[in-house]
Amino acid sequence: VRRWLITVSSDRDLEDLRTAVAAVGGTMADDPPIPLGAGEQVVEADGPDDLRDRLSAHPGVMKVSPDTPKHPFG
């Protein structure tokens, strides 16, 4: 299971997206979506390594990006 960031249009029904993510083996986080640019929003999800492929054909999903770990540089 990996962490993912899913970009969808800002008018996308997030409950419907939650169902779609669950249908392909993922779990959408409860955190509020993060607005991005004009007309987009980003939600977090846990999901299988191929979540991007599994959601690629799903209507309204614009991008699926990895949510990767960061390290302090001190």
């Binding site: 993060i34 949510d67 960061k70 001190g74």
Partner: protein
């Protein structure tokens, strides 16, 4: 009159020149005596020599000299047996001479005067690291006094620190963000990484205030949320004015396995959010990272160590100011990540100082369990503090104007993979901005 270091090349045929060259090194006096024998007449009183100086035989003269080339004789040196010694065409004499004497020599036929330039060995401060220095010494190196003397010390400027949280009882946290149930701004311990970053912003801009964006879950999503909060804060009242980021990746995944990883994908939401923040008028400063050679951080994976692969992700976006680390002597610190960047090539943009007693060290708030503020994590907020200081002097400056001033003020010299365009200098940056607005 001060003497100038120079190399004087004269036409002197010396038999068995290499043997004689080696003999000149046997005693200090031998080298000096050889130079004096070969020195053109009439300038003896205006020339001195370093104790180790000796003539250097040359076998291929400058093209406009009369002496024949000895290049052919050297071709025998590739044989696996001893070759005969050769005759010099010219000799190069290292001297210290009056400028007027050098001018006179330049006019003579058969004499050439060359510069004897200082050469840097680009020393690297590597484990064990050289000792730390005080904040006052760093302030002097940054030339902050040139701005402070005009009455500006970062007042009215707020720097957002996206990190692991700041101790607000020690440092001037006036706002920030966290998700519900998370750590509140200013609530971190004094020995936190974020408290170190806070201390280091204040090196150049001691009157700046801080917004604390505690980045306790170190993932893209947390960073994305923090930058989103920055944007919302800016929408509300135009603050914070600068954002400092001392974090990033320590591994590079293979592109074919992870093409949308933010190391490879410029359209990753985090990168786009950072561009939004910069577009809103706030400069964003990033640490280059600690995965440079020859002494990378132990956290770095092999895929991310060394030139060309150690500055990546948001830290290598063209729009941000990417900061490498040097010590107080201006030596690159041996873990500081090296360019070119994996997005924008000319990364780092600049270097700034690290290894000083800011939050950590003898008598400092964070104690001396950590010997001094360290990493490009310290260098980044030092540079962010310089940007804040410039903003207090030039309140309307844009991110691009500030970036240009910081880069050009660092010397604006040819870019290097180790330290970018040079070391941040607040005074020089201010003078450039003053000249631009005059």
């Amino acid at each position: 009159m001060a003497k100038v270091e120079a190399l004087i090349e004269v036409e002197v045929e010396v038999d068995r020149a290499l043997t004689r060259f080696m003999a000149a090194g046997v005693t200090l006096d031998a080298g000096r005596r050889q130079i004096e024998e070969m020195m053109p007449a009439g300038i003896a009183g205006t020339v001195t020599y370093r104790p180790t100086a000796k003539p250097i035989p040359m076998f291929v003269p400058p093209s406009d000299f009369r002496a024949p080339s000895g290049l052919e004789a050297l071709s025998a040196f590739g044989e696996p047996a001893e070759s005969g010694d050769v005759t010099s065409a010219t000799q190069v004499l290292p001297v210290q001479a009056d400028a007027s004497a050098l001018d006179e020599l330049r006019a003579r036929p058969g004499v050439r005067v060359w510069p004897n330039s200082a050469i840097s060995f680009f020393p690297v401060d590597c484990r064990p690291f050289r000792p730390g220095v005080t904040v006052d010494e760093i302030r002097e190196l940054l030339a902050v006094e040139r701005i402070w003397s005009s009455g500006h010390r970062g007042e009215g400027v707020i720097v957002g620190v996206i990190d692991q949280g700041i101790d607000g009882s020690e440092y001037p946290v006036t706002g920030g963000f966290n998700r519900a149930g998370g750590q509140q701004p200013g609530a971190a311990a004094i020995d936190s990484h974020g408290s170190m970053c806070a201390a280091d912003v204040l090196v150049a801009a001691p009157e700046a205030k801080l917004y604390d964006y505690p980045f306790l879950v170190p993932r893209s999503s947390s960073a994305l949320a923090m930058f989103s909060a920055v944007l919302e804060h800016r929408r509300l009242d135009g603050t914070p004015h600068v954002v400092s980021n001392s974090w990033g990746f320590v591994a590079v995944p293979p592109k074919e396995l992870d093409p949308t990883n933010e190391i490879w994908d410029l359209d990753h939401p985090l990168h786009r959010k950072i561009r939004e923040v910069i577009s809103s008028g706030a400069p964003v400063v990033f640490a280059a990272g600690n995965c440079g050679g020859p002494c990378p951080s132990g956290a770095c994976q092999q895929s991310s160590i060394g030139p060309g692969i150690s500055i990546h992700g948001s830290n290598s976006l063209e729009e941000v100011i990417t900061v490498a680390a040097v010590n107080s002597a201006g030596d690159r610190i041996g873990y500081s990540s090296q360019g070119p960047g994996m997005f924008a090539q000319e990364k780092p943009d600049v270097a700034a100082y690290s290894h000083f007693f800011g939050n950590f060290g003898p008598g400092r708030p964070g104690g001396d369990g950590t010997p001094f503020d360290n990493g490009t994590s310290a260098a980044c907020p030092v540079a962010a503090g310089v940007v804040a200081l410039l903003l207090s002097r030039f309140p309307g400056a844009t991110p691009a104007q500030l970036r240009d001033a910081v880069v050009d003020g660092a010397g604006g010299s040819a870019w290097s993979a180790d330290t970018g365009h040079g070391i941040v200098n607040a005074g020089a940056a201010m003078e450039l901005m003053e000249a631009a607005t005059a």
